[in-house]
């Protein structure tokens, strides 16, 4: 018999209690894992959607609040405010501005509420701005052309040259091109010629925002200052970075709540382990005293308690990670509905091995910390206690 086998046998004595404690460890691990995954995923998703890889350095928008602005700019959120199309030309002459892309973006849901599509009216500047915008097929031929995101093309089983009927507009379009998958929200978009997109919803000459690509990022502040001098007071020049940061700032309160959840989960777990180990200590008082009579020392008994805790913690964290993996798709869905802040189109819960290791390590350390007091208490039992019957 090995030491760990003895520890394992001790845990088998009160199976239901061991199981419940293991479960509380599992819940704590799962909470940490899922929350950390969301925390990182959300930040990455926002950054990917608004800041990185978009080639867009700055937006001219009518919305002052970053959440509103992000929603209008990236997701076709509804706003009564718009930018007249002729502003695009005025912006183009600002020094250091290399590309200007006026655009109209909007989401339409079918009357039965089952399907929402996002339409993106663009000019050919998008081909020069977006580094990851790789077109298979051709650019728009005429006003009835459409370019599809990879995911839409896949679902609808369309390829360049096909005709497609779009029920929102009761109209047939020709698919001139399909984008290569780039794992951004592009994958789910319908791209239309700007004028077509405006006309279909009777918004001729009106833009959602203007996207700017600068010659280089050193002049970001200069451009911002020039633009603010040029534009009317209720127009805003926001950098993509500021937009992302603004969104993340709003996410901060959600984040604070999530970390409270983690804290509570960890406290419950600590108390659970401490309680379990204390109970076994009380129950096994005489036994520990006897073991001391036959030569077990302080270190032997405390080692036993730590080992028992470690076994519970290891099994619990493993269980917690397995539970999380099954839980995450549902959690992603739930949190999308529950988040009051800007919700990026890409996955916002992004688990990873590093997060799994971090979560497990925290829970195991907490477990060992919780066992500290019971271990010392058990190890200090005097051998005499085995003998006395008082």
């Amino acid at each position: 018999m090995k030491f760990y086998q003895f520890a394992l046998m001790n845990l088998m004595r009160s199976k239901s209690r061991t199981m419940l404690t293991t479960l509380s460890v599992a819940v704590a691990t799962a909470t940490l894992f899922v929350v950390f995954s969301l925390d990182r995923g959300y930040q990455s998703a926002v950054s990917e959607e608004l800041v990185k890889n978009t080639g867009i350095h700055m937006f001219v928008t009518r919305e002052g609040c970053p959440i509103e602005a992000s929603s209008v700019i990236a997701q076709g959120g509804v706003s009564p405010l718009y930018i007249p199309e002729d502003f695009a030309a005025r912006v183009k002459d600002v020094p250091y501005v290399k590309e200007v892309m006026p655009f109209k973006i909007y989401a339409i849901t079918t009357p039965d509420g089952l399907r929402t599509d996002i339409f993106f009216g663009v000019t050919d500047a998008i081909q020069r701005i977006r580094p990851d915008w790789n077109l298979k097929g051709a650019w728009f031929k005429d006003e009835n052309s459409v370019i599809l995101g990879a995911e839409i093309a896949r679902i609808e089983m369309l390829k360049p040259g096909d005709k497609t009927y779009i029920e929102h507009f009761d109209k047939e379009f020709e698919v001139t091109g399909v984008l290569e998958q780039n794992f951004t929200q592009d994958d789910g978009f319908f791209f239309l010629p700007l004028a077509t997109a405006q006309r279909l919803i009777k918004r001729e000459g009106k833009l959602s925002a203007i996207a700017l690509h600068l010659e280089n990022l050193n002049h970001l502040d200069d451009v911002k200052i020039t633009l603010e001098g040029l534009l009317p007071e209720d127009y805003f020049a926001v950098t993509a970075k500021a937009l992302g940061e603004g969104v993340l700032k709003f996410f901060g309160s959600t984040r604070a709540m999530m970390f409270m959840m983690i804290l509570i989960a960890l406290i419950v777990c600590t108390l659970g382990i401490a309680n379990t180990m204390l109970m076994t200590t009380v129950e096994r008082r005489k036994e520990f005293a006897y073991l001391k009579c036959v030569g077990a020392g302080f270190l032997d008994i405390s080692r036993l308690i730590f080992l028992e805790t470690l076994i519970i913690s290891l099994i619990g964290t493993a269980l917690g990670l397995i539970i999380s993996i099954f839980l995450i798709p549902g959690f992603e869905h739930f949190i999308r509905g529950a988040l009051v802040v800007y919700v990026p189109a890409a996955k916002i819960v992004r688990p990873g091995v590093d997060i799994a290791i971090l979560s497990s390590a925290i829970v195991i350390l907490v477990g060992i910390f919780a066992a500290l007091y019971p271990a010392v208490k058990s190890a200090k039992i005097a051998p005499m206690e085995a003998i006395r019957n008082e």
Partner: protein, 224 residues
């Protein structure tokens, strides 16, 4: 038989405080126990038998006097050293068996070996169970053993670290006379093989089997 002294106690006094009152549980006892002795300690309840045995077993400290085990004074050493002495020199058997319910007889016997460095003592444990006549029961859990069998497992367990002395405190207190006799037979056999045995009992009949009997009363030795 050689005449090596294993245990030597001198003028040992143990005083317990119960409120204002002082109880002299052991009141000036001197004793010398040689290797290979088979000693029984008898006396009425409360006469100090358990206290004396605990002091000999390094589980309790005397208030006064000295206790030497294998020549070493144990009243002045540190707890870590005492742990070692208890582990290597002393085997303990109690009225309660203190068997771990989830472990088999064999595993229970191996248990004290876990605390000594040499962990793998399966062979030895099997031999010891054989010695106490339980070779057919080594994989049974305590719940499937009779009281007498459990005490025999406990005896085997007390011997796993090859102690120089076996201390037993009322080992037959929970057993019927037939099982009690068997336990004493085992002690007798162990003693004949050279083990020093000290048994506390209040069963005079059984005590008579021992080569030496001391009678305690009020913490003092009545005979010699």
């Amino acid at each position: 038989m050689n005449n090596q002294t294993i245990i030597e106690i001198k003028d040992v006094v143990k005083i317990y405080k119960r409120g204002e009152e002082e109880v002299h549980a052991v009141d000036g006892i001197g004793l010398e126990i040689k290797k290979g002795e088979f000693l029984s300690v008898v006396g009425p309840s409360g006469s100090g038998k358990t206290t004396l045995l605990n002091i000999i077993g390094c589980v309790d400290n005397p208030t006064q006097g000295t206790v030497k085990i294998n020549g070493q004074d144990v009243t002045t050493v540190k707890e870590a050293r005492l742990t070692k002495i208890r582990r290597d020199a002393i085997g303990f058997v109690f009225q309660q068996f203190f068997l771990i319910p989830t472990l088999t007889a064999l595993e229970n016997v191996q248990l004290p070996g876990l605390f000594a460095k040499n962990i793998n003592r399966v062979k030895q444990a099997e031999e010891l169970l054989n010695l106490v006549g339980l070779n057919k029961r080594i994989h049974h859990r305590p719940a499937h053993l009779s009281g007498g069998e459990m005490q025999r497992v406990a005896i085997a367990r007390s011997l796993i670290n090859s102690p120089s002395v076996l201390l037993a405190d009322e080992p037959t207190g929970n057993l019927d006379s037939k099982n009690a006799e068997m336990i004493f037979k085992i002690f007798d056999e162990l003693n004949k093989n050279g083990l020093t045995v000290i048994v506390v009992t209040h069963n005079m009949e059984l005590a008579k089997n021992c080569r030496k009997v001391i009678l305690l009363e009020d913490g003092k030795i009545k005979n010699a």
